[in-house]
Symmetry: C2
Subunit: 648 residues, 2 copies
């Protein structure tokens, strides 16, 4: 097997339409994501390491080897997972580029974990401190979830650095799980899926089949009411109400549902059981067509951090957890590998450039846990040196959370982003995401130059190539109309989901792909009541929003409507909020709602449409919102249909 | 002071525009509410008494006098309040009509409470069982909340029966609170307001000024961060972020916010402090204009059972707790007494006939805790002999709840409903709510005959009258257009909010008021995104809904739109679901959403409005939904604007 530095390295080749190119092969060389990767290392990782010490997450493990062993556990009982996700994030970042400091940080952290680990491999700081019994409350204990993250860290560290320290600790923990759960020795599983995909990755890294078998077992036992309901957490919440092969849509806690499906696709990729892929595709389709926001947010509900019903998509009260969108990216990536279909790369792009990018401040040291699509009233800023009491997004991004799942998840995703850009198969190389980068595979070296998404020109220069014919495939995004391309300045026809250029490539060949990205107005599915008769502004992959700070004084964004027949105007801003951006100037109307001061409803035939005064609205990329203090914000804006009688 | 059998008996007369007529003076003689009062006694009260034994609420108190004293408390730590609300409900029902069985039930229950009560008057089964210290965790302990309900029970029993047993127990508890809190001996208060209005009522019943002073003190201390935040519960949740005199809108937990305002108005009514009334009026206006659903639901959010921001009114995920609407009725009633203004009676009517009526099954033995305005997917029926795990409404009404606040609240409201119907002042008698009833005051006796709201004719017969001139005032509901009236068959002019008829009335005089109630289409405030470009059907005070069980086979209510230009047709059903009702037949369209099967959004100019096929939709009164098993339901329906290009 070829070494692959990145998440998801299928061993079996017959079920992958395309195979991943790792972040050692796809290097991000600049632009928005390149800057973020630099700040991820320079700012976010040290920031998070500091907080993991401060919030007790590291200390919970460290203390197990001291006289203070049974002191009260700090933070949530699954805080170990934050440490492991950090380890994974640093490991991928080391795979991207060496760093003595980060290597030392890994060494220190894994030392803490290794010392905390029991002789038989078990490790869980909450249980070991005596707050619970081993595997006694699997529905809520997150024991396998935490070990799953440890395994992912070990796999990432091995792939990223070739070193075994973390993997060895992870494998001892995995072996403990195999001994206790394998061969159906237990009939239950963890309330929070995660370990399934981790075990498959460990199987890939070690060749040990017991890990794959256990992953399949844990996928299989779920959905049969094996988990004990706990308070608000019922079988649906845990994905334990319906066996995964029979499930038709994503239900329950969003991160759990999507992590589970990642494991399901991973098991499929290694075993070929078609029913698993079918279920994942069915659920992905339902997710995408009925439960995904324009921003890529998934999981509508605060209550249970859960998916809602189809088309239940409130804009103001959407939960839209950052981790859920990351999980959706992880799932789409696996399905892209399985199928090679553009729709999965489109979904990754939408999620990355919008909700995922919005999750983090441009300074890269503050984060949203939940991500509203509309903010009616400016909320107080987050505490600058503390953690907010609840997951609901405050007026600005908090620096940390009591439940700190999202920041390390962001860190590992940014660090491994190169692993989500391009793939290969026997026919050639496929580029799915456009960002300044180099792609090296075998004798081939490609240089991708682009300002995307500031504009839609992508230049791919063949720096080196074998002397055989192969196909360069470039994704034509689903949002794009009228794409054109040239090879060495000669126009080529653009058709299909990918521009597939099969040639005897030569060094120095240049492909230019032009993806027109005029500002456009987007409507939602007609069953989405929350945004009926409203539009969002988009440009290329970017979803826009109106933020109060950009509007003329006195404009209440709760009363604006958009004049949809008139042109939108682009304005380039070199430095909007520390990042360059194209803003959209849109013709709007400020509605006069004064007739409604006393009452919330009226009889239709007594209700003239309110009058309004023209206003010039400024829309910015949604992912840049809330970088200038608390604000009012909306992505969808009602369509202005004039004042006067309700012309039925 | 005249004896008044009903909630809210202001001692001071100078701040009441109108004064209440008790349920001994206003007797409901039939119709929808009369039938409910009968079933309230015959079905709901025994049902609830059974459940309070079964769920441990009574036993928690009973056990305090046994060897089992410190056994684990069953249910929530504030379960005493359910017992007290039951006592209050039975007390009002005894005021309505004697019953040896119910008197015996009161005697038994109050005996349990009296035996549980400490020598110094303190009573709280959770604290007394040793699970917490007295007044130690007031932010969450509900100790004053529970005692408040005990006081209300004592006052109701005294007013309803003239007896002192319950009042004596309540007063001992109140005296204990006065000793520990009065004269600013403590600077904090209960996290859940309730005791404020109870103390004012106790002051009214006893003349003891210390209770009123303490009520004012507890109103005053709040809003200054005196309560310790606990988990999700922050100062806003508790109404502890802003002093009540400075607050501009209702915030936080809906029931708490409205119970607090009831206390605020009660304190105003006795002390005359204008700033208190001003705050209550300001908050009521914000509540009504920006945070009340068409059904009378208030409190949008599951998270914190809380008010949302203005116009944050999801239809599917609305919390809409039954207790919150009851609290809104209690507040509106107090403001009606203070001002005599129609808007408060209108609000009571809307709440009563819609959300409140919907809270209970027509069999009157099952209840909704939260009340959706839309149900996208039929949910499983509630357990028939158990309590559902969460407050979210299942497919049918559960018979009981672990947090059983709503059923006894419904019981006490139905039992005391006669107390919310009519008022008097020096000028005469005002009738605010129309239902078959008799009104007796002094030498006056009125007989109100009506099928309202099945039709809009109200006949008031003067059965007896003093030989002086006085004014009969009849509310002209805010929804009504073209009301007409006659006195002894002679037309009289109808103008203003109340038809005010000043005459030398004679026995045998007959007033006939005709309130036309054609089916009408109602739109919401333009800032309510959740129902933009949609209409609800209303008729008189009744809000309608579409329920799947009434539609032709194969009609998915998530895809129907309403053709607003065409006539709606009434059909009378003698027995719709055990109650007579006027149903509405509406012209609709079943939208063809098949073009959207794969994706949730589209570019506006590529997005033709979907085509549709005509359908005949049947709408029923919202309050009768979910009486025929799990269903899909919606109150607002999109307006059909034709297929084809999005005609901007």
């Amino acid at each position: 097997m070829e070494r692959h530095v990145g998440p998801v390295s299928p061993l079996a080749t017959e079920r992958t339409a395309v195979r991943p190119l790792g972040l050692d092969r796809v290097r991000i060389t600049g632009g928005f994501w390149g800057r973020w990767q630099e700040r991820n290392r320079a700012v976010t990782i040290p920031h998070a390491l500091g907080w993991l010490e401060r919030d007790g997450s590291v200390d919970n493990l460290r203390r197990l080897t001291t006289a203070d062993r049974t002191a009260a556990h700090r933070g949530f009982w699954f805080s170990d997972s934050d440490v492991y996700k950090m380890l994974e994030g640093i490991a991928w970042d080391l795979g991207r580029a060496p760093s003595p400091e980060l290597s030392a940080a890994v060494e220190a952290l894994v030392g803490v974990v290794a010392r905390a680990q029991e002789a038989d491999g078990y490790v869980n700081s909450y249980v070991q401190a005596g707050h619970d019994g081993r595997w006694e409350h699997l529905a809520i204990s997150h024991e396998l979830y935490c070990i799953g993250h440890l395994i992912q860290a070990g796999v990432a560290h091995k792939r990223g650095t070739g070193r075994d320290e973390v993997l060895a600790v992870a494998r001892r923990a995995a072996d403990c799980v195999v001994r206790d759960f394998g061969n159906d020795r237990r009939k239950d599983t963890d309330g929070h899926p995660e370990v399934e995909m981790a075990l498959v990755e460990l199987h890939r890294e070690t060749g040990e089949r017991a890990y794959l078998e256990l992953a399949r077992q844990l996928v299989d036992v779920r959905g049969r009411g094996v988990l004990e309901p706990a308070g608000h957490f019922d079988a649906t919440y845990f994905q334990d109400a319906t066996p995964v092969r029979e499930e038709t849509t994503v239900v329950g806690h969003a991160v759990r549902a999507l992590y589970l499906l990642c494991g399901v696709v991973d098991v499929y990729l290694e075993t070929g059981e078609q029913a698993l892929l079918d279920s994942a595709l069915r659920q992905w389709r339902s997710l995408t067509a009925t439960k995904t926001y324009l921003s890529g947010a998934v999981g509508s509900r605060f209550d249970g951090e859960a998916f809602g019903e189809p088309f239940e998509m409130p804009q103001d009260l959407v939960y839209g957890e950052t981790c859920a969108t990351i999980a959706a990216i992880m799932l789409s990536w696996r399905l892209l590998l399985a199928t090679g279909e553009r729709r999965f790369a489109d979904a990754i792009e939408r999620a990355l450039f919008n909700l995922f990018a919005a999750s983090t401040s441009v300074a890269r040291d503050a984060f949203f846990y939940s991500n509203p699509a509309q903010r009616r009233v400016a909320r107080p800023a987050a505490p600058t040196d503390g953690t907010p009491p609840r997951a609901e997004a405050p007026g600005t991004r908090p620096h940390w959370f009591r439940c700190a799942c999202c920041p390390p998840n962001i860190i590992r995703t940014v660090a491994s982003l190169g692993g989500y850009v391009a793939t290969r198969n026997d026919d050639g190389i496929q580029i799915h995401q456009y960002l300044p980068s180099t792609v090296d595979y075998g004798q081939t070296r490609l240089v991708v130059g682009t300002r995307y998404p500031l504009d839609g020109r992508v230049t791919v220069t063949v720096d080196a190539t074998p002397s055989a014919s192969w196909t360069l495939a470039l994704r034509i995004p689903g949002w794009c109309r009228g794409a054109t391309a040239t090879v060495n300045s000669e126009p080529v026809e653009v058709a299909g989901d990918y521009l597939a250029l099969r040639r005897d490539w030569r060094a120095g060949d240049v492909v230019v792909l032009d993806l027109p990205m005029p500002l456009r107005l987007t409507v939602s599915h007609p069953a989405v009541d929350a945004v009926r008769d409203a539009v969002a502004i988009e440009r290329g992959p970017i979803v826009y929003c109106l933020e109060s700070v950009d509007q003329p004084a006195g404009i209440d964004l709760n009363r604006v409507e958009l004049v949809a027949g008139e042109p939108l105007v682009e304005e380039f801003r070199e430095d909007l909020v520390g990042e360059p951006a194209v803003v959209a100037i849109a013709p709007g109307v400020l509605r006069d709602d004064s007739a409604w001061a006393e009452i919330g409803w009226a009889t239709l035939d007594e209700h003239p449409r309110p009058s309004g005064t023209p206003v010039r609205l400024t829309a910015i990329p949604y992912h840049l919102w809330a970088n200038r203090g608390p604000s009012v914000m909306r992505t969808f804006v009602p369509i202005w249909r004039g004042s006067g009688p309700s012309n039925l």
